[in-house]
């Protein structure tokens, strides 16, 4: 038995692979739910009801999907060029922090301020990833470890700022940063819910990334750099320039996720505002096979798991960590599924 690379990946496989991967992951996690003494089918039904059962729960789920779309795009863009950006979590937090900091006292009206704040968040995220990208290009330091370590540094930095210069004197209990000015809060998409127009921004970002990757020279260069770096260099593509461009774009997307979360949901920054949006973004990107349209679908799936698991946990007593188990299993099963789309098994 051996593996043979397919010349062309058939479209039906591209669509079936994630579905099979998710089904296998849910089956395996079902075993763990059974260990908890709960019927897995009942538990999954509760999850669906919790995430999609009412108007409120759907908006809650889409609110959760919004940053996931953006961090998923960040990972997809980077992974396509084989730039291993595992620092989405850190970039999310700097984006959030810079937005709250500037947005607290920016003396302009809302419609002008909101774009400024989002660009500031993007710039912060882009700069944060530019450092490991530079270290890779200049000193050949593996960016996996540096981006991971930067996540810890950034979270500590956020903690330092919100207990120090950016502390909100009015916040009770856990320390929080000063909130952004009320003028800069994103309007609700659905009245009397938390769902904000940031969701539309995330969709627009997915569309824009799709266009960039499919229709521009830069998009072709990223793909070439990821598929075969030496061939790309031979074809006259400047790898350092391409990788730095990818890093700036990827970091900007993750920074935007933090920015939009602050403007749309939390107003202030806390060290607990992200339940791992950056890391989950990696799973989202992989489930999407690194395609921008797939990212939207995968983000909605992952958000459904997270929001649904919280509700299911309240009803059945199964620990809500099961959501993280499902998502992690999806990453592993998807990795195997992707192998079967790119290779065929020959006897």
């Amino acid at each position: 038995m051996r593996l043979e690379r397919r010349a062309q990946v058939p479209l039906h496989l591209v669509i079936v692979a994630p579905l099979v991967a998710v089904a296998v992951a849910l089956f395996l996690a079902g075993g763990l739910i059974a260990v908890a003494g709960v019927n897995p089918f009942g538990a999954y039904a509760e999850m669906l009801r919790g995430a999609l059962g009412s108007r409120l729960s759907v908006t809650e789920m889409l609110t959760r999907a919004t940053p996931l779309i953006l961090t998923g795009l960040a990972a997809a863009v980077a992974f396509r060029a084989r730039l291993w950006n595992i620092g989405g979590e850190g970039q999310f937090f700097v984006g959030a922090l810079v937005t709250a900091w500037i947005g607290h006292s920016l003396p302009v009206p809302g419609p002008i301020g909101i774009p400024i704040l989002m660009v500031a968040g993007m710039a912060a995220g882009a700069l944060l990833l530019a450092v490991p990208a530079y270290l890779r290009l200049r000193f050949s330091v593996d960016e996996v470890v540096t981006t991971l370590l930067l996540n810890f540094i950034v979270i500590l930095f956020v903690g330092m700022m919100i207990e120090g210069p950016l502390r909100d004197p009015l916040a009770f209990g856990w320390p929080s940063s000063v909130p952004v000015d009320g003028d800069f809060r994103l309007p609700d998409l659905v009245p009397r819910t938390r769902l904000h127009i940031g969701f539309l921004f995330a969709l627009a970002a997915a569309g824009a990334i799709w266009l960039i990757l499919a229709r521009t020279v830069f998009g072709t260069e990223t793909r070439a750099a990821g598929l075969n770096a030496s061939a790309a260099a031979f074809a006259g593509i400047s790898l350092p320039r391409t990788l730095m461009g990818v890093a700036l774009l990827s970091g900007a997307l993750a920074g935007l996720a933090g920015s939009v979360e602050v403007l749309g949901v939390t107003a202030g920054v806390t060290t607990t505002m992200s339940p791992g949006f950056g890391y989950a973004g990696i799973v989202v990107a992989m489930l999407a096979a690194l395609h921008p349209a797939g990212v939207v679908a995968a983000a909605i799936f992952v958000a459904t798991v997270f929001v649904g698991a919280d509700a299911m946990s309240r009803v059945t007593g199964v620990p809500s960590f099961i959501a993280d188990v499902v998502v992690a299993l999806c990453l592993l099963t998807m990795l195997v599924a992707l192998m079967f789309t790119t290779y065929r098994v020959r006897r």
């Binding site: 270290l135 000193f139 470890v145 810890f152 540094i153 903690g159 620990p319 998502v327 992690a328």
Partner: protein
């Protein structure tokens, strides 16, 4: 002056060895995997897994040493999963490793919550205590530092010696190193590079899990989420810093632990500096170490290249 006085304090140097212990286990494990050609980014999750299973075994009435054994087995199991995905299937070692980290951590937290009833404070166990080695522990200065540690610390130091001997002086070690450099040459010798890689990853992961278990059975006495705190990633950086040599890895881990122990004590002496700045130091240090050595690092030639039989 106070900052300097700290250096003469035996408790600082005793803490260095204690803080270094999980790093020594982790870095040896990562080094073994990488020497055979497999990057194991599952380390952070595997350490979490070891921390949880080791602690849980003792909590449920097991002996401390049985706890370490169970931790090693659980780590080996996670390593086997990583090995299956990356060696026979040849999947991306980066993505698989991250997947293992996410999975092993999530599974640990899930099982912990399921089995253990957590009140206001996490439940505790009776951990490994420092053992005073007769006569030697009474030596001035050196005694309390070197000869009054918990038993697993000595196990870690012994593991360095065994690993160095294994890799440099035994046929098995030669086979492992060769698999990391040129698996085709291994195949030509009539050995199976895939089996060597799988074995190395399983054994390496078991070592990583011991590092995690040290946290819950010796350094602390309870388990809580996020307790590994990036130590796994630091170990990955230390392997590069040590240019894939066990002896240098020990030095790296000790150096690192020294800075960590020193910054902890410095926090109490230096005022008006946010404590987070001190906590950031270890991570900055790791990045700095990587930058320093990355250029001349002699990476195992076949690291991260999946081996496929009969394919060049």
């Amino acid at each position: 002056m106070e900052a300097f006085d700290l250096l003469l304090n035996t408790s600082l140097w005793a803490a260095v060895l204690r803080i270094a212990t999980p790093l020594i286990f982790g870095v040896l494990g990562a080094l073994l995997c990488e020497r055979s050609g497999v990057l194991n980014l599952g380390i952070e999750g595997i350490m979490t897994m070891g921390a949880m299973t080791g602690w849980l075994t003792v909590y449920m009435g097991g002996d401390l040493w049985i706890g370490l054994l169970v931790a090693a087995l659980s780590g080996g199991l996670m390593g086997l999963l990583h090995a299956m995905l990356t060696v026979p299937l040849g999947l991306s070692q980066h993505v698989s490793g991250l997947g293992i980290t996410l999975f092993a951590s999530a599974l640990s937290y899930y099982l912990y919550r399921l089995i253990v009833v957590v009140g206001d404070l996490p439940p505790t166990i009776e951990p490994f205590r420092p053992v005073n080695i007769p006569i030697l522990s009474e030596l001035p200065f050196l005694g309390p530092i070197l000869f009054s540690q918990a038993m697993p610390t000595y196990l870690a130091l012994g593991a360095v010696v065994v690993m160095a001997y294994l890799l440099a002086r035994t046929p098995l070690g030669l086979a492992i190193r060769m698999t990391g450099e040129n698996p085709h040459a291994v195949e030509a010798q009539g050995l199976d590079p895939m089996r060597i890689r799988i074995g190395a990853v399983v054994a390496g992961s078991a070592l990583m899990a011991l590092g995690g278990a040290f946290l819950t059975t010796a350094a602390f006495n309870s388990f809580f989420p996020e307790m590994v705190q990036g130590r796994g990633w630091i170990c990955i950086a230390l392997v590069v810093f040590a240019s894939w040599r066990p002896g240098k890895a020990l030095i790296g881990a000790l150096l690192f632990a020294f800075f960590d122990a020193y910054q902890l004590r410095l926090q109490t002496v230096v005022e008006d500096v946010p404590y987070q700045l001190f906590l950031m130091a270890p991570y900055f240090l790791s990045i700095g170490a990587l930058v320093l050595v990355a250029r001349r690092a002699k990476v195992p030639e076949a690291l991260m290249t999946p081996y496929r039989r009969g394919e060049r």
